[in-house]
Symmetry: C2
Subunit: 330 residues, 2 copies
């Protein structure tokens, strides 16, 4: 099942069921108006949405309309939790060494996860607005899951059963603000402004065999100003699966329904796969004995992220954003 | 105006207006059912709640009932943001030095604020449930504000105008998990389980002259197993006021209505004022040339936090929690 949230002037938007091919949609009116509502009462509401989804896919939904990704908010325009892991050793290794440090050896037993802001999540085609391009504007292509309720002490395998939906994310990062925040130890705050999400949230069964081992076993394509810069397998080198990330959070506290847990930047050792964030490209340049030649993003730049399924179709729809100056924003 | 949220079996509870003396309450039925709803539409809904509050205080509300703090969830049982600062130099100084480090000199220009989990906030009398007492269970007595919408780049003075409500909090901390998370730089995750809040959220005007300079200029009383351990002025040594904390977050991103921003542990240099967390008491013991003699909390311990107003009445009602073992929890 594929779900999206349309802009309607409200803070939480209007829940839609979207057809598998992303061509048509149908309001979930009569079932639920907001996605959080569905997550709060998943077992009762999701089968009703599934029925509508089947009808829509069969072309029999009575009030279907053409799906317009530009009308989408984030599937959860605001969430009660957004915790983002760092599950790709290559990403950790590259960035640690480029900063002159060493990759931590314990990240498998002691995962890196930061608590992100979740009060303001961006739609797939919303402008990413920043006050200052000198902050080092960078994208991060990521997968994420939305959980149901998770009890304290839930193990990694059981935690996987709590996964309700999968998301594709762009975790905007302000690189020049990162070192100071890392040094303080209190985590990322100013360096992690609002995260953007692809138009459509999908249930894991939509991926078929590509949802395996708690990972999305599909390539993530990234284009920067129209130039392809990444075709990275999101599963191959994800050392910690989503159940392990969730279990790490749940060690001392519950997670409540609607919590979003991210994978961190998708990354592969093979440089030919490209880069899921500019910081990795720059790390390669630095570690190759030079200085960072690739600049971070400029106002007006565009960034596109998409995942194609085993059938070749777009799974989540595309994130397609423009970097905009605050001074020019409405 | 004083507002609270009653347990009704739902995730967000039922909104109440509570009388100034905390003796009576009235459901906000017909105005709003949830506090977040009021924050989303403050200018329209809050005057209606104010009217009900006046009627209730005059003893003329038609369906008033006795207010029972034990029935309270957190005023916001789940929130879209909980960002907690560290605005008391004495707290930073003591804990830094006891860890063998030095107090950072730049915390006034570069505040310490961590993003906390906000999907699961505890009611004032809820048990604080932990799996392992060896984690170093500690309380942290804090003040907090709930904001309206705040635009990117809002300055400290303007940010103060966004304050809608004041809260009293107990930011439960697992001290033995803190050093590892500080070292990773990704912020507190496992070391900061669910935070608890006093029964009642109040508008700043409830404090009269004690809401001054963006600070709550009142003492915070803490009792541990019935023994008073703190009578700490929450304003005197709060180096950064709430507007400054909010402005720090807003430098690179918006805050949306219902964001909770905390002061960090209230603290005073004068040791006679006591301690707002056990870690401070232990820091004194270590810095006085000994070892930490005071143990962290044990299962079955009780913790009470309260703030009395200029008129001597309880402002927020009391946080009164029991530390419980997960194995014994329902």
């Amino acid at each position: 099942m594929k779900l999206a949230t349309y802009k309607d002037g409200s803070r939480d938007g209007q829940l839609l069921v979207v057809s598998r091919d992303l061509l048509t949609a149908h309001f979930a009116t009569g079932i639920a108006t907001r996605l959080q509502q569905v997550l709060d009462d998943w077992n009762f509401l999701s089968p009703q949405l599934e029925d509508l989804y089947q009808t829509l896919n069969q072309g029999k939904a009575r009030h279907a309309f053409a799906f317009e990704p530009r009308q989408c908010m984030a599937p959860l325009p605001r969430a009660f939790q957004w915790a983002d892991g760092s599950a790709f050793p290559n990403h950790i290794d590259l960035l640690s060494r480029a900063r002159g440090g060493e990759a931590p050896l314990d990240f498998m037993v002691d995962p890196r996860i930061y608590q992100g802001g979740s009060d303001d999540l961006l739609g797939a085609c919303d402008d990413a607005v920043f006050a200052d391009a000198a902050w080092g504007i960078d994208f991060e292509a990521e997968l994420a899951v939305v959980t149901g309720d998770v009890a304290i002490g839930t193990g990694a395998d059981a935690a996987l059963d709590s996964v309700r939906l999968l998301l594709l994310a762009n975790d905007w990062s302000l690189r020049h603000l990162v070192p100071g925040e890392l040094a303080k130890g209190f985590g990322f705050l100013q360096s992690k402004p609002a995260t953007a999400f692809a138009p459509v949230a999908v249930t894991p069964d939509e991926l078929g065999a590509a949802w395996r081992g708690g990972r999305v076993q599909l390539p993530v394509d990234v284009a920067w100003n129209g130039q392809p810069v990444a075709h990275i397998d999101a599963g191959a080198e994800m050392a910690l699966h989503f159940g392990q990330l969730i279990a790490h959070i749940a060690r001392t506290r519950r997670l409540r329904a609607g919590s979003i847990v991210g994978s961190g930047t998708v990354s592969q050792r093979d440089a030919a796969a490209g880069y899921g964030c500019i910081a990795e490209k720059r790390a390669h340049e630095i570690l190759d004995g030079g200085s960072a030649a690739t600049e971070y993003m400029a106002f007006g730049d565009r960034l596109r992220i998409e995942v194609k399924g085993l059938d070749g179709g777009s799974v989540f729809g595309a994130i397609d954003q423009r970097v905009a100056a605050l001074a020019d924003a409405g």
